[in-house]
């Protein structure tokens, strides 16, 4: 019965979203608070219905109810419980339900938000309702996750073993919460365009939503990258794969939006541009969903595999984004950019940040869509990592070199000489770090040494800014501490995010240049040398897992002195259902580095004994690559907790009391 109950709830949610859209818009048009209140109620009820449907699907997975098509196709009784639950969003249909769960969840949060002018709020809730109608409608009519089978199978098809991983179980919820969080920003933009007024206050209201979405997206992308690193066994962490690019594009635009919204909030400038970014961010989220879901990019011909759904998603994207941008074209000329600023000012640095991020987004978009464009011209082709690295590297370098100056410059007209003076120490340390790396690390690589220097520059710049605010070395230490304690959390959040960026840049530059690889065919007792380490394959035994058989290798890692660093246990697993084989990578962390060992296929050695292909890497400083984005995400959350962002609500409560 649960599946039918869930289906009913979905139908109800569709009706409620429609009601939310119509009633809120009507309420705004007639200036009727009862109607807008009813719209908010519909938003809450729609969320409740989607939650019930989502609960029903998870229940069907947990109880392995194979009479539900989606469960039969994606689950298995032997699967560990965590992956049964995660299986609920492991398929196309389930992930769309997760998307709608997030969409209506944000709608409900919006309905509960206080301190917004009622007319703007009513229109925002109405727009969110319209998005709900589109996506829930798509789910109900074209991608229903709760459809029953007439004759249920005894056993399910199981979830792909590669996806059976804790990081990947958590990755989609974070990513989707981020993607869909941008829908609220989109709705705010549409509402403000209809109202024809975008000002400092609007930017302040949008900022927490943009921050939340950005932080969640950052964490979601990092989890995905971490999964690719340790689960795929390729020894890389970013592949410029279309699926990764799909998540990177909204992130880049959301980053630009956070920065331009600050200019709009503090200076009333760039209003039209900020709204444009708000529309772009969710459009790219939807584009990402379309590209990933339709399979259009894996093979340019896969479009034909499921043309109905692909075209429907494209239609939804076109309708939502098209109306948004048409509205923008119509109303944006009404938005006046009032305040002026000098070439050396905080505004200028933030505008350059936005220009670079826009150019990088264009790079990723052009590279991702290039195969489609060529296909339309009757040619074949595509781009790979070398293209992205060539274009994105120099662009980002420009932004990173300017970045530390931004927070230190004053609004309107900055003091270039003063900033140079304040950043002198950070610049000196960064240059020294780059020179030291260039001189000491073999083989010499100037570009990577420069990259590490840039990372140090970013961290040093962020620390200089904190010291500056604390009047460190100028005031007494007691006074400095008092000033530090008085800094708003938004300032700490920004510094933490910039430090995280620096940490990431250092790690990416170092790991990219000085990663070591060694591959040999080893029989038991054989060894290979990996940099200064020696790896000995002690034994390979057979082992039985919960839903797989494994060849379990024991690899002893020793340092030059002969001391054992660790005993790594890479596995090669064969899953009974589906017959797929995957590698369980063994990782020995050593400080910031990882020794990364993969047990490959079994071969015959010359003497006829069994031997295995053992691939191994040293990934130096790789931990920084994942630590950096984590710090950035934490910075976002810290900013979100700034009382200035909640002040509107707090004030209101104060006034009512």
């Amino acid at each position: 019965m649960t599946a039918e109950f869930g289906q009913f709830a979905l139908g109800l949610a569709l009706g409620l979203s429609l009601l939310q859209m119509v009633v809120s818009a009507l309420g705004r048009a007639r200036r009727n608070a009862v109607l807008t209140g009813a719209g908010e109620g519909a938003a809450l009820a729609a969320f409740a219905c989607v939650t019930i449907a989502f609960g029903c699907l998870i229940w069907a997975f947990v109880t392995s109810d194979f009479s539900v098509l989606n469960v039969a196709e994606n689950s298995h009784t032997e699967k560990p419980m965590l992956y049964k639950v995660a299986g609920a969003w492991g398929s196309h249909e389930g992930s769309i339900l997760l998307w709608c769960f997030a969409l209506t969840g944000y709608g409900a949060a919006l309905a509960l938000a206080r301190g917004l002018p009622w007319s703007l709020k009513a229109l925002t809730v109405a727009t969110q309702g319209a998005l709900g109608v589109l996506f829930i409608g798509y789910m109900v009519f074209a991608s229903n996750p709760l459809i029953r089978l007439a004759s249920p199978p005894i056993e399910g098809n199981s979830l792909n073993p590669l996806l059976q991983d804790p990081a990947l179980a958590a990755h989609p919820p974070f990513l989707y919460a981020g993607y869909v969080g941008l829908s609220v920003v989109f709705s705010f933009a549409v509402a403000a365009l209809i109202e024809g007024r975008i000002d400092a206050a609007w930017a302040r209201w949008v900022r927490p939503w943009a921050l939340a979405a950005w932080g969640l997206l950052t964490i979601g992308i990092t989890l995905g990258s971490f999964w690719a690193y340790y689960e795929l066994g390729w020894g890389g962490w970013w592949f410029w794969d279309p699926v990764e690019n799909a998540s990177l594009m909204p992130w880049l635009v959301a980053t630009a939006l956070l920065h331009s919204a600050v200019v709009t909030e503090k200076r009333g400038a760039l209003a039209a541009w900020t709204v444009f970014l708000a529309l772009c961010a969710f459009t790219l989220s939807m584009l990402g969903a379309f590209l990933v879901r339709s399979g259009v990019l894996t093979s340019v011909h896969a479009f034909a595999v499921d043309p109905k759904r692909g075209l429907l998603l494209l239609g939804i994207l076109g309708l939502a984004a098209g109306s948004g941008f048409a509205l923008f074209a119509w109303r944006a000329p009404l938005l006046k950019d009032q305040s002026a600023f000098a070439p050396v000012s905080r505004e200028s640095t933030l505008v350059i940040n936005n220009i670079v991020l826009a150019a990088v987004t264009t790079t990723v978009l052009a590279g991702t869509l290039w195969p489609l464009i060529l296909d339309a011209m009757g040619k074949q082709g595509g781009v790979g990592a070398p293209y992205y690295n060539t274009v994105v590297g120099p662009l980002m370098a420009v932004a990173f070199l300017i970045l530390p100056a931004g927070p230190l410059l004053a609004w309107k007209r900055g003091d270039a000489l003063g900033v140079t003076h304040r950043l002198g120490l950070a610049a000196g340390v960064a240059v020294l770090a780059a020179l030291a790396i260039f001189a000491l690390v073999q083989p010499r690589q100037a570009l990577a040494a420069f990259g590490v220097g840039v990372g140090v520059w970013l961290i040093g710049g962020a620390l200089s800014e904190i010291f500056e605010r604390a009047h460190a070395f100028r005031a007494t230490w007691r006074e400095s501490l008092r000033r530090l304690g008085g800094l708003p959390r938004g300032a700490w959040g920004m510094s933490l995010a910039h430090i995280g960026l620096g940490v990431f840049v250092m790690g990416a530059a170092y790991e990219g240049a000085w990663k070591i690889e060694a591959t040999e065919v080893l029989s038991a007792g054989g060894h290979l040398s990996l940099g200064s380490y020696t790896l000995t394959l002690d034994a390979v035994t057979d082992r039985l897992g919960p839903n797989y058989d494994a060849e379990h290798g024991v690899v002893r890692v020793t340092d030059p002195g002969g001391a054992v660093v660790c005993n790594a246990t890479p596995e090669r697993r064969t899953f009974a259902t589906g017959g797929q084989t995957t590698s369980k990578v063994a990782i020995c962390p050593r400080g910031l580095d990882d020794i990364y060992i993969v047990l490959g296929e079994r071969r015959m050695a010359q003497d006829g004994a069994s031997a295995w292909l053992v691939r191994s890497y040293v990934h130096p400083w790789v931990h920084l690559i994942f630590l950096g984005p984590l710090l950035m995400g934490l910075g976002g959350i810290l900013s979100l907790s700034d009382r200035r962002l909640r002040l509107a609500a707090g004030r209101r409560r104060g006034a009512e009391a």
């Binding site: 492991g90 398929s91 196309h92 992930s95 301190g115 917004l116 590669l162 990947l168 990755h171 989609p172 000002d199 400092a200 206050a201 302040r204 995905g224 999964w227 690719a228 795929l232 066994g233 390729w234 794969d241 699926v243 909030e265 009333g268 399979g295 894996t298 093979s299 950019d337 002026a340 505008v351 350059i352 220009i355 670079v356 826009a358 150019a359 264009t362 790079t363 052009a366 464009i373 082709g381 595509g382 781009v383 790979g384 990592a385 070398p386 293209y387 060539t390 662009l395 708003p488 938004g490 591959t519 040999e520 084989t581 995957t582 590698s583 993969v598 292909l613 002040l647 509107a648 004030r651």
Partner: protein, 165 residues
């Protein structure tokens, strides 16, 4: 990554099963520096029959053959440029993972920099505009609140521009 289409999964799985095929000791050149030069070329060369993979990653037969051809040419002392020319003469530009600078690829290479230049142009034109006398950004009432708020919220007084509903 989750919820990939079956086709996409098949491709990813295919890639995993034949990962880093080029590192196979059975294939590689005796001279490590020549092997390193060959590997660098592999990473730039598309495996024409696999989607989006370089011949460094793929163990398709064609990728294997191409690797051996490139290794032989590297061992014979040909430069990377000569080898690239040889590859494009034989398979077209598509064989390169990094598309060359050419008119048909102009949109791809130029678009990011065009966006950057347009942005800089807009910024420059904005900066050249004569700065108007400080325009009232906020309403009078909002400005009062701002001043009050700035007093309580040092050192970074953001404007409290909340207007009651």
């Amino acid at each position: 990554m989750i919820g990939m289409t079956p086709r996409r999964l098949a491709i990813v799985l295919g890639a995993i099963l034949c990962v880093a095929a080029s590192a196979d000791p059975a294939e590689r050149l005796a001279d490590p520096s020549a092997e390193a030069r060959a590997r660098a070329l592999f990473q730039e060369t598309r495996c024409l029959v696999c989607q989006g993979q370089s011949i460094d990653d793929s163990d398709a037969e064609l990728a294997h053959d191409l690797r051996q051809i490139i290794r032989a040419q590297v061992a014979a002392g040909r430069s990377p440029g000569q080898i690239r020319t040889f590859l494009t003469a034989r398979y077209g530009d598509y064989v390169l993972m990094r598309p060359p600078f050419s008119w048909s690829n102009a949109a791809l290479w130029a678009s990011p920099f065009l966006v950057g230049l347009v942005g800089l142009g807009l910024l420059a034109s904005r900066l050249r505009r004569t700065p108007p006398a400080d325009v009232q950004v906020l309403s009078v009432e909002e400005d009062e609140r701002l001043a009050r708020f700035a007093r309580e919220d040092t050192p970074e007084g953001g404007p409290d521009v909340h207007a009651p509903a």
